[in-house]
Amino acid sequence: MPGDLTRDAITITLVTGVLIWVLPLIVGTYTLTVLAIYGMLGLSLGLVWGFGGILCFGQAAFFGLGAYAYAIFAINIGESTVPMILAVLVPAVFAAFLGALMFYGRLGDVYLGVITLVVTLILFKVINSTAGPQYVIGNARLGGFNGIPGFPTLNVPGIPDAYIWGDRYFQVCAVLLGLVCMLVTALLRSSFGRIAVGIRENETRMSLMGYDVRARKTAMFAIGAAIAGLAGGLFANWAEIVTPNLFSLGQSAEIIIWCIVGGLGTRLGPVLGAAGLAYLKFLLGQQAVVDNALVTGLVLVLFVLFLPKGVVPALSALWRAGAGRRPRGRVRQRRRPPRRERLNG
């Protein structure tokens, strides 16, 4: 197992390195940055839903909380390191409370969906209605539907004047995405991850084995929210403004579609689904002939009909079918020498 993990880490490092080098030759780094951020957001739900078996309709809520936490603390603190950490912690703690409420309350899957959806709606409404000057946290005005602009963006840790922007910022986001991929890989290889997958498969069996399903699902939910929060903090830096739209149901639905299209139960799928569909949206946004939402909807329908498991599982099935022949050949070759020995002897 540790050997496999090292191999995965090397693969992720190489792929990330090559992509950071090659992709800017094709697409602008400003666009690439947000694709990487969305990739991270997709991965957060891909982990919770695809491996933890928890379908959350409110992943955007954690993304939005991360972004707002960053903006508010950045204004109050005046640098970016602590706000970035809080962008991870605030949604994680929020999700831990929400998760505990749902999982210890033994809510069924449907109610879980409803509650995460309602919580997202409430956050959207609440933030939306904070337009008045009385709604401030420290020095930060919440600004209602106008959002919060003008907060300090990412700086080199410890040097508040050294801002990280442009190509550099893309590199930071891409490296962080690579790191999160590695963390998720390590998590899934660990006992915690394997037990989480067991819980996805059959909660009753896992509890009959002696595992506290409620605690483990709560933990998984919080980890997913932490990753979504990190993506939110990075997004705030990219957009240089945070608005209640981050909490919108449309955003939540999109994350779910990324996961379905890319492939649930894989690590790569949700990342590719997110980046691919977001790039498609970006391209479509530059013309006015077809409506954006229509195309996203169409893509989803086509995938559900023709490729229900998503892109990555389909590709890996193809790959295995292609590679399946080779090892057998090798086995045959290996079997020959003993026979020859016998003939000689």
Partner: protein
């Protein structure tokens, strides 16, 4: 006196008007093997679910090795060292045989030790040839055997099996008998069964359930030859 592995006092479970378990007093000594029989709907599975925490009894108490476990959740009961197989197969279908058993072992051991225990159980239950296969693709008998493996790998001192022989062929039943004797060297067992031949081959004491109550409790031969028990099974009025 021998240690008591499991004891219930006045265990009662009501579903609306139906009394599925009715003031059941039950006592099982350490390393005892007990069979539970009774016609369909007699309340055997309900009694099981109340013991294992899958349901909370309406009234009465459950004790395991003297600890009161009434109303505990299944994971706490299992953590005491209780192995449970439910009537409907409960396995992790899209995972491999090895992963299924490893997850059960990991609850009580570190990762490395769990690897070793898993290999041991796979060998013991003769699952080596299919250890990398997904559970979803296995034959019924193999799935049952894997589920026994899940139960066995935690080294339980109390094992509760609801209809382990259901749907098994003659060869598989024979194998099951061997496994149960093996498990019984360390653990007390309660086995719910309908298969009389199988019961004869493993049981000494049998408890008969009827309409939620314990109808009788005696040596297997006396139970089998009892006219009241025969009538109950044939659906006549006792």
């Amino acid at each position: 006196m021998a240690e008591i592995a499991l004891e219930t006092h006045g265990l009662t479970m009501r579903f609306g008007g139906v009394v599925a378990a009715d003031r059941v007093d039950f006592k099982l000594e350490a390393r005892e093997l007990r069979c539970l029989i009774g016609p369909n709907g007699a309340g055997k599975s309900t009694f099981f679910k109340c013991i294992t925490g899958l349901q909370s009894p309406s009234e009465g108490e459950v004790y395991m090795r003297g600890i009161e476990t009434t109303g505990w959740m299944p994971h706490r009961i299992a953590s005491l060292g209780v192995g449970i197989k439910t009537q409907t197969p409960n396995v992790l279908d899209s995972l491999s045989v090895h992963e299924n058993i490893w997850l059960a072992a990991r609850r009580f051991h570190g990762s490395r030790e769990a690897d070793r225990k898993t290999r041991e159980v796979i060998e013991l239950l003769d699952l080596g040839a299919i250890s990398r296969n997904g559970l979803g693709r296995l034959a019924h008998g193999e799935r049952q055997r894997v589920e026994l493996g899940l139960v066995a790998v935690g080294d339980p001192w109390l094992i509760l099996l609801d209809e382990p022989a259901a749907g098994l062929g003659a060869g598989d039943v024979e194998r099951l008998t061997g496994i149960i004797h093996e498990l019984n060297r360390q653990a007390a067992l309660v086995i719910v069964e309908h298969d009389m031949q199988f019961i004869r081959s493993i049981a000494e004491t049998v408890t008969v359930f009827h309409q939620g109550k314990v109808l009788m409790e005696d040596h297997v031969e006396s139970v089998m030859s009892d006219p009241v028990v025969r009538n109950v099974y044939l659906g006549r009025k006792a």
